[in-house]
Symmetry: C2
Subunit: 404 residues, 2 copies
């Protein structure tokens, strides 16, 4: 008789953004005349840049002729894209990452969930609290997190590293030693960052403990300040302890195009085995490559025109971030983030819970945000707004919030 993976049954409720979608749908059905503005899920709204559109059309044309048709892609990605990444994202920042240490995928969400496949179930994870839910949920599915303690909104076998106003929204080295450490900077959901010396401490710690850091740098393109590292490989020794996840979703607007990559340096070994070889095996066995046309689009992000247009796109969203940040400050909210990240993290007013504020914002301002508590217990009393809306909607949302 087939036995299911009963770790799935331990998962509380449904995935955060599904819950939000259902609440919004119910509100819309009850109030069909209200115009909702969505500053909740981190989905972009602006079209793909011209250089990318041109590359996509060109690649589609390649697929229309036998001479230039592309079947199965190389398992780990096309060289043209891996070389462009190695050169632009790493060599240009002084990081020594080879093209064959870069694995092209269909996005950082898949990678951040699938990376756990190459680790034993018997590892203890440490996560920031609040945290992007995918890290925890996918480990729960694998049976790595113990039991869910509903009263604490925590898993029994996870090390939580609180990131609150008291810690400047950065984690502190945990007392209990973890095996796998998830770090995300610029941070989703708080929009916070840490400096290179601060990140170096984590690298040194992971090397000392023989832990592995999963470093999610999906938002690195939004960094505007000098002292914030773009890659963990800017730190000495990171190649022996860190895996870096990157995405094209947030810099180039690929949320619906699907492209990302994971870097595993060949120097990263545990129990005598290179993690690179394990991930290569997983990629080759359970994945068949990102689409050719999408990889060509990714290459175009690194063209001169693509770089310039991507910069403009990011400036557009970061202007929205400024509008939200300043507008909320004027309205008397306590806010952070929004300087090196497209996320604004605000303290809910009047001691409202995160979900109370969600309902309040939806009903009074018809604005959708994300409850901080959905990202972990230390997110309770906080709320996330994103800068990914259109400029017009962002202005309108802030005006509505001011009037609440």
């Amino acid at each position: 008789m087939l036995k299911i993976n009963d770790n799935y049954l331990k998962l509380p409720g449904s995935y955060l953004f599904s819950t939000i979608a259902k609440k919004v749908q119910a509100f819309t059905e009850a109030n069909p005349d209200k115009k909702i503005i969505r500053l909740g899920i981190g989905d972009v709204t602006q079209p793909l840049s011209p250089a990318i559109i041109t590359a996509l059309h060109g690649a589609v044309d390649d697929m229309s002729k036998a001479e230039t048709f592309h079947g199965y892609a190389p398992d780990l990605g096309y060289s043209f894209l891996r070389e462009a990444i190695a050169s632009n994202d790493y060599a240009a920042r002084g990081c020594d990452i080879a093209a064959d240490e870069i694995f092209i995928s269909d996005g950082a969400k898949s990678d951040s969930g699938n990376i756990g496949d190459i680790f034993s179930v018997d590892n203890k994870i440490a996560v920031c609290d609040p945290v992007y839910p995918v890290y925890v949920d996918t480990n729960a599915m694998a049976g790595r997190t113990g039991d869910y303690l509903a009263d604490q909104q925590k898993w029994s076998n996870v090390i939580y590293m609180p990131c609150t106003s008291e810690t400047n929204f950065a984690p502190e080295l945990p007392k209990e030693t973890p095996d796998i450490i998830y770090l995300c900077f610029p941070n989703n959901p708080t929009g916070s960052t840490i400096t290179k010396p601060e990140l170096q401490k984590w690298v040194d710690y992971a090397n000392e403990k023989e832990a592995v850091i999963i470093y999610d740098a999906a938002y690195e393109a939004y960094i505007s300040e000098e002292n914030v590292p773009h890659s963990i490989y800017e730190c000495d020794g990171a190649k022996t302890c860190a895996i870096e996840l990157r995405s094209f979703s947030k810099n180039a607007g690929f949320t619906g195009v699907r492209l990302g990559f994971t870097v595993i340096p060949k120097a990263l070994k545990r129990e005598g085995t290179t993690l690179h070889s394990l991930w290569a095996r997983r990629h080759g066995t359970k994945f068949n490559g990102a689409p050719y046309i999408v990889q060509r689009a990714g290459e175009a992000v690194y063209s001169e025109a693509g770089k310039e247009q991507t910069k403009q796109l990011i400036a557009y969203y970061m202007n929205n971030a400024k509008v939200i940040l300043e507008g909320l400050k004027e309205a008397g909210y306590t806010v952070s983030g929004g300087v090196n990240a497209p996320y604004i993290w605000l303290k809910t007013p009047d001691k409202m819970t995160s979900w109370e504020f969600f309902d309040n914002l939806l009903e009074k301002a018809n604005v959708v945000g994300t409850p901080g508590s959905g990202f972990g217990p230390s997110g309770e009393g906080y709320f996330r707004l994103t800068a990914f809306g259109s400029y017009e909607n962002t202005i309108a949302a802030v005006e509505r919030i001011k009037k609440m």
Copy 2:
């Protein structure tokens, strides 16, 4: 200290097609003047059909304008594609499958590997022997297959169902009861099929044992004979025991486009839980949808023009299959498959092993095929050729083989 998933270390050698690629590369480097013809890996060679190219360009244009831009896709796929599949692949064949029982993905390889996530490690799998290696390797990675017995080329905890000339290349009901049964018809690698009454026996057996059948129908578009089922849901009771995997790779040439889907009927429950809900949770947590432009391309496969052009594409490859089948018969080979499938399965001559024949064919005819033993111990002494080459190359390859 991080502990790796040491199940990976049990995997013998590298993935079959990587090994072949390395052998061919070595031969090409040593013999740069030889023109290799590849009839090995099941990769298509013909360009995408005009209706699909038009749809891709249209979808790319959608992504260039804010009003028609598409960000994150619905987790489980766009309705326009799920509805087209439900109508054309199921309702049209008398199968009662709802659109929301269809999960859109980036391909059947990913799905056939990832589906194991929703099952307990404590399940015993049964596979045909020979078999598509992904089923076994992904279960080995999950720790479900026991130890690899190199002398037998088998895993200690897998039920192998030999499919040889003695069984007409079809499996027989196993003596030991499995929990998960992998079936693939039309079969990769043998090209064999079974009739609807024969498949009904498997459905009845799975329901009786409360097992689950993973039915890989990636090659259904190649069925030319009347009595061969296109979907397992043509059988009574399949909705309570079967998951069906489908691909756009082999009908519409999407190997480099990446699109597939998995059907999990809501009636399929084990241990009181619908497998549909588990897979929906996995999809929502570890996957972010197939690209919008690719899903539009999938929709175009079901347009009137798309259906007609897809039929022509399949006819093109099936003509190749006929050329290979008849050519090899003339040359005195014992061959099967190639009638309802793009694969021709031949018995190696002169008691050569599969790899000996591989080397022989590469050296003497400069043709690349796939050693049957790469698909399992009962594949030893057999060899797979595919019909996915160009017509000209297929003719040339058969001529060369005749002269060997």
